[in-house]
Symmetry: C2
Subunit: 441 residues, 2 copies
């Protein structure tokens, strides 16, 4: 069949797309305040400029000591140390009215200094005796338990050494990265930054805003847009724009969803040019085939290069990728299906997998699953456990979802993830190990 | 030891906290536009008000037919059908200048109607022949491949039947939920809504904003806040506030981080009352012990009930939970540690696990891990694969991270998740099956 022969493999589509993105995103970044970096993609390797902690820190409330002074201390053999104050009025921190540390203070043998959890222990000291094992008097303390060097102490550089990598280019910034970056005084981070526009096309589309309202049609008849109207006219509420906007948000990008446009070549061309002029990437849905009303692909092909159109994958076959030169800038268009499931799969495989690949697990299948040679199949799965698992034999399995149609969005919302079945594989047998990509739910 | 006896078990702390939250959050919700629901917690069971699709829809570009008319069609035996137009000017949709469906049209035997992917097939028809298997003429078509009933058709209710649950109360709203909700015309969702304030306390704290700046201390000396200053004075850049704000954001809540406050009882009390008056929940960090400068706990205990203070867990022991009656409203305070790792663990176990529990996996350990009886240990782990795994024996393992100190934030940023080691377990041996809670990275 001529139609199928024009399609390329998923592996080739991926290679083409990811190579273009490698080049394209090199200079696509923006500096963000640390507060605004959560879940964005870090665009640089960040190394720690300092040791963290930058001083030996008490991990307990108690007394900072020289460990050798209290070796062998016990309930029956308390050891006495003289108390000495660490903090000095004139060296106090200015963010606080209380005092913390005197930078010139040094502890010597026979002395102990009171410390709290998280505070610096004085120079000279090397351990902390927990207050539970200390009896306090006015000028001295009795220590009832010995400590070894650096017991109850967070040592300089224990968390990070100067030069240690905190986060690598391409990693997603988590709350823990943010805590680390703040701790070493990093206030701004270069994050991958792309302006992305979304455009759904199709005569059948109704905007969610208009649903439930009465709207004049072109014959000036007031019509109520309800489900009855929708089922009679074969209309569809546009869900692709809001889905893609959400998927992009979870991928670290704030995209703009433009008003959908009907199957009108002139209108489509106008919208595409407008959105391209305002964005780096455009994602369209609908009009991806070569049907009579599939103008999206047609219009895009007039504007620039089509890097591919159609890949041997199911669901998701009618997807295109295009590079447009506008002014002296390159822009890219992901030409996605109108079917939400196909669009979601195309997005996941050709965009999300580049920027924010899902965690994968190698696990066995619960049952046979047939696939076609020469086509990559996306099998949606649920995670299940062996029912007679109790102990060391407990095992996790991938259960293929039974999906009746390609339009079934609930196959995504109820799935835990998916398996990519290579085009050279005819299917799997029960027990075969597959690589499951897990949704971040 | 008296101090340890006052602590409660993790299981008890969890029970107390979650019971209070069950009651507390019952009426804590707010209606959000669908566009703003992503990653929030759904506060209601939502069932589909309609069938989706609400009409039989073509899954391909081609011709809608009565399947029985083309049984047995093949390359050598093409079957001829008369073409008939489906769309009518006067029934056109008003959001479009083109026409889609005539609500009174019904297909009868011997006829075929051109359809595109995603469009309604007319009443009477029950299948679609792909255009690749059709030769078109002016008034008729030749069909070269038979179809069975509902082939290439997305049937009414295939995705969702009226009354099917789209999302359950307590579930996190994903992009796929959003697509489904939009598709059935749901514009607004009640999401769990809590106003949460964050307050870090401690004389040692420096705000990230002040880092790198020159600031006057109280003796009116201009001091540059750099790492040298920090290490000499034992100061710490406040990372807890921004970490908790990010963790809460990932849990679906927009929290407000207030300026940190020094260890001054009057000041702490004032801040706590202000934040409680503006929020449902307050999370404090620091001052959780009963040390000389640990005023946070002390001040909170004067304001209301302490439901617990200290749990037998490591890391994370010095954590408190308090219920305060303010006006005629209940407010809760999570009294978290000043140590970021302890605070993160406390947040994860006592807040996040309630609202957004992590996915868990039962997998074997790569090595022995010792734990103490009578204390719940939080073992941070990385996922690894058996190196000589290739095929059906491929297995996933949990590798305990070697962590030198409790202050090591990088033990969280580099971990894939954690295992809760029950207080009745002395530790695990290599190969023992554990339940790993996986971070959503």
């Amino acid at each position: 069949m001529k139609f199928v022969k024009e399609l390329i493999s998923y592996e080739d589509a991926k290679k083409i797309t990811f190579q273009e993105l490698d080049e394209f995103i090199r200079d696509k970044y923006k500096e963000f305040n640390l507060n605004d970096c959560l879940n964005k993609i870090c665009h640089e390797d960040i190394v720690s400029p300092v040791d963290l902690p930058s001083f030996n820190k008490s991990a307990m409330d108690g007394y900072s000591v020289i460990a050798e002074d209290v070796f062998g201390a016990s309930d029956n053999n308390p050891i006495i140390l003289e108390k000495i104050e660490f903090d000095e009025e004139e060296n106090s921190k200015f963010e606080s009215k209380n005092t913390v540390g005197d930078e010139n203070f040094e502890l010597i043998n026979g002395f102990a200094t009171k410390v709290s959890t998280g505070t610096k222990i004085p120079e000279g000291s090397n351990a902390v005796v927990m207050k539970e094992y200390v009896k306090e008097y006015d000028d001295y303390i009795e220590v009832y338990l010995g400590v070894h060097p650096f017991e109850n102490v967070s040592k300089i550089g224990e968390d990070l050494k100067k030069g240690d990598i905190i986060i690598k280019k391409g990693e997603i910034i988590t709350p823990y990265h943010i805590a680390l970056l703040a701790s070493v005084g990093i206030k701004k981070v270069n994050c991958t930054y792309l302006k992305i526009g979304i455009l759904s096309t199709g005569d059948e589309l109704i905007s969610l805003e208009n649903y439930g309202k009465e709207v004049n049609n072109k014959n000036d008849e007031l019509k109520k847009i309800n489900m009855d109207y929708i089922s009679k006219t074969g209309s569809i509420i546009n869900s692709n724009s809001v889905m893609l906007k959400s998927l992009l948000k979870n991928c670290g990008f704030d995209a703009k969803a433009y008003d959908h446009v009907e199957d009108n070549p002139k209108e489509i061309e106008k919208c595409i040019l407008k959105i391209l002029s305002e964005n780096d990437i455009l994602m369209t849905t609908g009009g991806t085939s070569v049907g009579d009303r599939d103008y999206t692909f047609e219009e895009i092909s007039k504007l620039g290069e089509i890097l591919y159109h159609g890949i041997k994958i199911r669901p998701g076959r009618p997807v295109g990728f295009s590079k447009i030169e506008l002014g002296n800038q390159s822009k890219f268009i992901y030409i996605l299906s109108g079917y939400p499931v196909a669009a979601a799969v195309q997005f996941e495989l050709l965009f999300n997998q580049y920027f924010k690949p899902l965690k994968t697990l190698k696990i066995p299948l619960t049952r046979n699953f047939a696939s076609s040679l020469g086509r990559t199949d996306i099998m949606r799965i649920k995670l299940t456990y062996d029912s007679n698992s109790k102990n060391t034999n407990s095992k996790l399995f991938a259960e293929p979802l039974r999906i009746s149609g390609s339009g079934v969005i609930s196959s995504l919302s109820s799935a835990d993830g998916y398996v990519i079945i290579d085009e050279n594989i005819e299917g799997y047998e029960k027990g075969d190990i597959v690589t499951a990509h897990l949704f971040k739910k």
